[in-house]
C-alpha cells in the first residue's frame, strides 16, 4: 500500500492544487510536497527494516488480455531516486517564492503532477507502465516550459517535446518487440520486467543490438548524451528556473536510471557489442560539454553545458557495468541532482538581484554579500567534486569503473576534473571576486527562502561528502543483485 500511495498521493495533491485559488496554491503545494517527502522517509524506514516487505510492492492487474499490470516497487535504486525526487521537489517549490507566476494553481499543480510521473518511472516494474509514466512526465514539464518560459520558448519547447517524444517512440518499438517475444510463467505474453529481461536474453546478438539502440536512444536523448543533446542547453536556459531544476535535477536521471534498470539486464550481448561505442559517446560529451562551458557568458547556459558533461560521466560509468560504475552513478545522480538545483538557484538569484546573468557584466558581489559568496563557493566546490563534498565519491567511483573498462577512457573522462575547475573557477571569479564592473549593479542580502534552500543544499553537499555510505547502504544490495544478474 505504501508503494502505491507514493504515486497516488502526489496525484491527489496535484488535483487539489489545481482547484486552489491564489497564493493558497503555493502553500498547499509546499505542504503536500513535504508530506510526500515524509512519506518516502517512512518508506525508507520500512526499506531499512525489511527490504522484502510487501508494503514496498504493489501489483494489480491492469489490462489482463495484454499482460499489463500496475506493478510498482521499491528496490534500492528506486528507493534512492524516490528520496531524491521527494527531497528536491519541496526545495524547488521554495525557490519559486520570490518569483511571481500567473495562474499559480496550474504551475504548482503541474510540478506535483510531474513528481507523480517521476516517482512512477522510478518505481515501475512493468514495461508498459514504465512507458506510460515516462511519457506522462513529459507533459507537465512541456507546459511549464511553454507557459512560464523565457525568450523564444515556443520554438525551443516544441523542439524539446518532439525530440524526446521521438526518442521515446524508438523505445516503445523496442519494448513491444520484447513483449512479443516474452513468455510469462503462465505461458502468456507479459510486460513484467523479469519477463522482458528473459525475453531480451533469449535473443541473439544481432537482435539484442537492435533493441539496444532502440532503447538506448530514448535514454540518450533524455540524459542527454552526445550528440543527442542539442535540445538541452536552449531548453534549460529558456525554461523557468523551477522547470530547469526539474529537468536537470531529476528528469535527466530518468535516462541514466533507465539504462541501469531497463537496458543493462535486458540486452547483455548488445551491451557487450555496443557498450564501448556508447561509453565513447558519453565521454566525448564530457570533454565536449566541459569545453563549451568554458566559453559561455550566460551563467545559466554555462551550468546547462556543465550539467550535460556531468550526466555524460554518469552514463559512461553505468555502461561499464562494473560495481564501482553503478554505485558511483547512483551517488552521482543524487549529488548532481542536489548540486544542479543549487547552481540553477544561484543563477536565478543573480538574475533577480542584478538583472543579468552575464558573467562579464557581474563582478565584486563578494564584497557586497559575503554569506552568499560562501554558499556559492560550497556549491561550486561540490560541482568540481572536491573531496569531502558530495561530488567526489561518485565521481571517483565513476572514473574507477571507467578505468576498469579502459585506462585511456578514464584519462579522457578525468579531463573533466581539470576543465570543470577551469569553467567553475573562472566564472566564480568573474561574478563574485574583484571589483564591481558596473556601478549600477547592487546586491543586497539574500531573501529568506533562497537562504534556506542554499543552506540545506550546502549541508547536504558536505554531509554526503563526508558520509556517502548513508546513500550507498541503500543501493548496495541492488547493485549486488544487478551485478549478479549481469553475469
Amino acid at each position: 500500500m505504501l508503494a502505491g500511495s507514493l504515486i497516488i498521493f502526489p496525484l491527489i495533491a496535484a488535483i487539489l492544487v489545481f482547484m486552489a485559488k491564489g497564493k493558497g496554491a503555493r502553500n498547499l503545494a509546499l505542504g503536500f510536497s513535504i508530506l510526500q517527502f515524509a512519506l518516502s522517509l517512512v518508506a525508507l524506514f520500512q526499506f531499512k527494516h525489511n527490504p522484502a516487505s510487501h508494503h514496498l510492492l504493489l501489483n494489480c492487474t491492469w489490462v489482463k488480455s495484454l499482460g499489463i499490470n500496475f506493478a510498482v516497487g521499491l528496490d534500492g535504486f528506486a528507493m534512492l531516486m524516490v528520496l531524491l525526487t521527494t527531497f528536491l521537489v519541496p526545495l524547488i517549490i521554495v525557490t519559486s517564492f520570490k518569483n511571481t507566476y500567473d495562474r499559480e494553481n496550474i504551475f504548482y499543480g503541474l510540478i506535483l503532477l510531474m513528481q507523480m510521473a517521476l516517482v512512477g518511472v522510478f518505481m515501475a516494474n512493468d514495461g508498459f507502465l514504465f512507458y506510460v509514466f515516462w511519457e506522462l512526465a513529459l507533459i507537465p514539464i512541456y507546459f511549464i516550459c511553454l507557459m512560464w518560459g523565457g525568450e523564444n520558448r515556443g520554438k525551443i519547447t516544441f523542439k524539446f517535446f518532439v525530440y524526446t517524444l521521438l526518442g521515446s517512440l524508438f523505445m516503445l518499438v523496442g519494448l513491444v518487440y520484447l513483449y512479443n517475444n516474452s513468455i510469462s510463467l503462465a505461458g502468456t505474453k507479459s510486460w513484467a520486467i523479469q519477463d522482458l529481461i528473459n525475453s531480451g536474453r533469449s535473443l541473439g546478438e544481432s537482435q539484442q543490438s537492435i533493441i539496444f539502440w532502440l532503447i538506448f536512444i530514448a535514454f540518450a536523448i533524455k540524459m542527454p548524451i552526445f550528440p543527442f543533446h542539442t535540445w538541452q542547453p536552449d531548453t534549460y536556459v529558456t525554461a523557468p528556473t523551477q522547470g530547469t531544476m526539474l529537468l536537470s535535477g531529476i528528469m535527466a536521471k530518468m535516462g541514466t536510471f533507465g539504462v541501469m534498470k531497463w537496458l543493462l539486464p535486458i540486452v547483455p550481448l548488445g551491451i557487450e557489442k555496443w557498450g564501448g561505442i556508447a561509453i565513447g559517446l558519453s565521454i566525448a560529451g564530457v570533454v565536449y560539454g566541459s569545453c563549451i562551458a568554458i566559453v559561455q557568458k550566460d551563467y545559466k547556459r554555462l551550468i546547462a553545458y556543465s550539467s550535460f558533461a556531468h550526466v555524460g560521466l554518469i552514463g559512461a560509468g553505468i555502461l561499464t557495468a562494473t560495481a564501482q560504475g553503478l554505485q558511483g552513478a547512483m551517488l552521482q545522480m543524487v549529488a548532481h541532482g542536489i548540486n544542479a538545483v543549487g547552481l540553477f538557484l544561484i543563477a536565478d538569484i543573480l538574475l533577480r538581484h542584478t538583472g543579468t546573468r552575464d558573467i562579464d557584466k557581474l563582478g565584486g558581489i563578494r564584497s557586497m554579500n559575503g554569506n552568499f559568496a560562501v554558499l556559492f563557493l560550497i556549491v561550486m566546490l561540490g560541482a568540481v567534486a572536491l573531496p569531502l563534498t558530495s561530488g567526489f565519491p561518485g565521481e571517483f567511483l565513476l572514473i574507477n569503473g571507467i578505468f576498469q573498462f579502459s585506462a585511456t577512457a578514464a584519462a579522457f573522462a578525468g579531463l573533466s576534473v581539470i576543465l570543470g575547475a577551469v569553467y567553475m573557477l573562472r566564472s566564480y571569479q568573474s561574478i563574485m571576486l574583484g571589483d564591481r564592473k558596473d556601478s549600477n549593479i547592487t546586491f543586497g542580502s539574500l531573501d529568506g527562502s533562497d537562504k534556506v534552500v542554499l543552506i540545506i543544499i550546502c549541508a547536504a553537499i558536505i554531509a554526503f561528502g563526508i558520509y556517502p555510505k548513508a546513500l550507498t547502504d541503500i543501493t548496495e544490495p541492488a547493485v549486488k543483485a544487478l551485478m549478479q544478474n549481469l553475469k
Binding site: 523542439k159 518532439v162 525530440y163 512479443n180 550528440p227 543533446h229 542539442t230 535540445w231 565536449y288 569545453c291 563549451i292 568554458i294 566559453v295 559561455q296 562494473t322 560495481a323 564501482q324 553503478l326 554505485q327 558511483g328 565584486g364 563578494r366 564584497s367 566546490l381 572536491l386 573531496p387 569531502l388 565519491p393 571517483f396 567511483l397 572514473i399 574507477n400 578505468f403 576498469q404 585506462a407 578514464a410 584519462a411 578525468g414 579531463l415 576534473v417 581539470i418 575547475a421 577551469v422 573557477l425 573562472r426 571569479q429 563574485m432 571576486l433 574583484g434 571589483d435 558520509y467 556517502p468 555510505k469 550507498t472 548496495e476 547493485v479 551485478m483
Partner: protein
Amino acid sequence: MIKLVGLIPLFPLIGFLINGFFGKKLSKSLSGFIACSAILASFILSVVIFIEARHLPEHSQIVNLFSWISAGTLNIPFEFVVDPLSTWFLLIITGIGFLIHVYSTSYMHNDEGFSRFFTYLNLFVFFMLLLVLGNNFLIMFVGWEGVGLCSYLLIGFWFKNTEYNNAARKAFIMNRIGDLGFLLGILLIFVTFGSTSFDQVFSKAGTAEQGTITAIALLLFIGAMGKSAQIPLYTWLPDAMAGPTPVSALIHAATMVTAGIYMITRANVFYSISETASAVVAVVGVATALFAATIGLFQNDIKKILAYSTVSQLGLMFLGLGVGAYSSSVFHVTTHAFFKALLFLGAGSVIHAMGGEQDVRKMGGLKKALPITFITMLLGTIAISGVPGFSGFFSKDEILAHTYEHSPTLWFFGMLTSMLTAFYMFRLMFLTFWGGFRGTKEQHHHLHESPKAMTFPLIVLAILSVLGGVIGLPHFWGFHNFIGDHLEPLILRKNPSTLPHDTEWMLMGIASVAALAVIYVAYIIYRQRNIIPLNENDKMPALQKTIYHKYYVDEIYDAIVRKPLDAISTMFYKFVDKQIIDGIVEGVGSSVKGIGSVVRLAQQGDISFYIITMMLGVIGILLFTFLL
C-alpha cells in the same frame, strides 16, 4: 594516546568551525587566540604521540574511524596511520604551523579579514594533517586537494585584486592537472592490488609487473609535480606569493609544497622497484633545481626570490628521492621548513616595516632599524647557503653525497644549484640590509622593528635553522643519524653510503669552500661595488633579459595551452554544436515537415480511400508479425 590521533586534525577543524561561524562576532584577539590554541593543542598531542610511537613494536599503528566509500570489492576506510613518517610530519606541520599562527596574529592585525584569515589557516592545517595521517591513498588525496583549496583561498585572500585572483585560480588549476595524474595512479593501484591502503598495497608490490609499478610511480609523480611545483607544473608557485606572507611561509614553503616529497617517501616501495621512475624523479628534480635557481638570480621582488628558491630546493629534495636517499630528503624537508619559514617571515617583517614595499632595489641598510629581523634572517641565509655547521649544510650534503654515489654528473648540477643558492640569497641580504636606504623619506621615517609576536617566531626558527642539523649528523663523523634511523623501518631499499670516508670528506670540503667562495663574490658585487640591479626598462644582455622574464614560460604556456583551449572551445560551441549537430537535428525536423506537407495531400476527405489504406495497413502489420 595513539588511539586519540584523530584529535590532532580535529582541533584545527574545531578552530575552523568556530572562526568560520562566529569569527565576525569575536574580537580579533579572541579569534586569533582560538586559532593559535587549536594548533598548539595539536602540537602537544603530536609530540606525545611521536614519542609513544617510537616504542611501537611494529613501528606503525592504524586507527580506524569509519568506513568512507565502498562499492563492490572497493572499500576505503577513513583511517589514520601512526608511524615514524607520519608522526615526523605531524611535528613539522603543527610546530611550524603554531609559530606562523602566532606571527600572523600580529602581521594580519590591521586586516579587516582577520578572522577569515585564521579560518582558512586552521582549515589548511586540518587538511595538511589529513594528508600525512591517512592510511590509504584516497585519504591522502582528500588532504591533497583540501590543502589545494586552502591555498586557493589564501592566495586570493585579498579578493578585490584581480591579479591575486588570477594567481589563486592558476594555482588551483595547475594543481588539478597534477591531481588527475595522482587520481589515475590511485585507480591503477586499486585495479592492480585490489586496495588503496598502504599496508596492503606495499606488501603486495613485489607481485606486480615492473611496467605497472613504473606506471603507478610516474602517475603519482605527476601529482607531486603539481603540488611540489616541479617542471613543468611549477609556474603557479611564484605567482602564489600574492597571498599574505605568513601563507607563503606556511603553505608555499614549509608544509604544503613538501607534500610531494612526503608522498614519494611514503610510496618509496614503488620507486625502489622502478629504476625508470626513480631516474625520472631525479632528472626532473635536478633540472627544476637548477632552472629555478637561475631565475632566482635576477628577481627583485623579495618574495619572488624566496619563491624561486623554494622551487629550487624542492628540486634538490626530489633529486634526493630519485637517487634513493629518502630519509635525506625528509631531513632536508625539515631543515628547509625551518630556514625557509624563517626567511619568509623575516621578509614579511621587512615588508611590514617598509609599508608594503617588496622590491629589494628600493630597500637597503635596514639592519640598524630591524636588528632582530636582520640577525635571524642572516642566520637563515647562512643555513640555506650551506655554510658548514648550520642545518642546511648537513641536509644538503647528505643529498649531494648520495647523488655523487649515483651519478657524478647529477652531483655536479646539484652542486651548481647550491652555489647559485648561496649567491642569490646573499644578494638578497646585501641589497636589503646593507648599503644606504633607497626608499622614500616617508618609508625611512616609519622603519621599525616588528612586535614581539612576530620576532618571537623568528628567533625560535633561527635557533632551529642553526642547530637543526643535529637530527642528522653524518655517519662518517661517527655520529648517530637520528632521522635516518627513525625512518629506516619504512624504507624498502636501504641506501647506506658506500663511499669511502675520504671521498665523503672531499665532497663536504668542496661544498664548504664553494659556498664560502660564492658568498665572497656576492659580497664584492653587492657590498663593495654597491651594484643595484637594473630597472625593467634598462638595456640588458639578451640572456639576462630572458632569465629576468622567467624564460617566458608563462607566455609559452599561454600560447600553447590556454589560447588553444579557448579557441577549440569556441569552435566547438559556435561551429560544431550550433552549425553541425544542431543543423542536422533541425534538418531532420524540417524534412519531416516537408514530408508532412506531401502526406497531407493524402488527407482528401474521401472515406473509401481511408478504408483502403487502412486495410492495406492491417495486412502489412499481419505480414510483418508473421514474417517475424
